[in-house]
């Protein structure tokens, strides 16, 4: 991995390590090294560098809430905002524990798209009514409750993807 003009440049080995980690982040340096035909110390150095530069943000566990009997409601909330206050609204939403993802959309109306989770529909509504609608700059809100999920995967990198990532 190199830094060139404020951009992180990954080489083939970095990409391969990321692919292996995305499949299973619990693999040891030795296992990864064996898979890719390099020394475990090389794998260790590459991973440490990518962690240091924020290429690898964190390692986490994907928990199936239904399997452990946790009732919850997930919804996609589109918040239409006054452009001058969008940034502030997005930041405030990001700080809420009920909000899992926050993105800005460049549609005709500037809007913020957020994934929200709550124990039930009533709590979801209370959160939106008491904590989102009153935020300064919020013009209106559209919410869709997710009833069934057909696919739930994280973006998976491929070797042939662009090798330059802006920092």
């Amino acid at each position: 991995m190199k830094i060139r003009n404020q951009a992180v440049v990954l080489d083939n080995l970095d990409w391969k390590i990321l692919q292996v980690l995305q499949e299973n982040a619990k693999r040891t340096y030795t296992e990864i090294g064996r898979l890719l035909g390099v020394a475990h110390s090389t794998v260790y150095d590459r991973i440490r560098t990518m962690e240091k530069h924020g290429v690898i943000k964190k390692y986490t566990a994907l928990v199936d809430l239904e399997k452990i009997g946790i009732e919850h409601v997930t919804a996609i909330m589109t918040v239409f905002t006054n452009p001058k206050e969008s940034e502030k609204v997005a930041k405030t939403l990001s700080e809420s524990k009920e909000v899992l993802e926050v993105s800005m959309s460049l549609s005709e109306d500037l809007s913020i798209i957020a994934k929200v989770v709550a124990e039930d529909q009533n709590r979801l509504h209370l959160f939106i009514a008491q904590s989102v609608a009153p935020l300064s700059g919020v013009l209106r809100i559209r919410t869709s409750i997710i009833t069934r999920k057909y696919k739930d995967e994280r973006f998976s990198i491929e070797e042939n993807w662009k090798t330059e990532i802006k920092r």
Binding site: H125, I128, A129, Q130, A133, P134, R140, R142
Partner: protein, 115 residues
């Protein structure tokens, strides 16, 4: 019952509440219309303007009476709104009946506060 309202409680009911305590009009769970009311006077106006679906949504969840009772602190009006539910009005019929109840109360309190 209405005659027991004191001058100080009238001004309290008619006051403007902070933005975070306003009434926010939704049409269904999580769907905010963009309309809100921070005082009884605004509430009357919004009843005339908002989508009737929003009034239905809030009436049958008990949100309207709860806001009037807990935020504006007008128990008498809250009780009147609560009793409207038993008639099961919908659409513009609900809007008209609700408007009558709330605007009448507003005019009554406004009249008392200026006398």
């Amino acid at each position: 019952m209405g005659d027991l309202v004191t001058t100080s409680s009238i001004s309290r009911i008619l006051r403007k509440v902070p933005r975070e305590n306003a009434f926010y009009f939704f049409t269904s769970i999580g769907n905010y219309t963009g309309e809100n009311a921070t005082c009884l006077e605004e509430f009357v106006k919004k009843i005339e303007e908002v989508d009737a679906k929003s009034l239905e949504f809030h009436l049958y969840r008990g949100d309207l009476e709860k806001w009037v009772d807990k935020t504006l602190e007008d128990k008498e009006l809250a009780e009147k709104i609560r009793s409207l539910k038993s008639l099961s009005p919908t659409g513009n019929s609900l809007r008209n009946q609700l408007y009558l109840i709330v605007s009448k109360r507003y005019e009554q309190l406004k009249g008392k506060s200026s006398s």
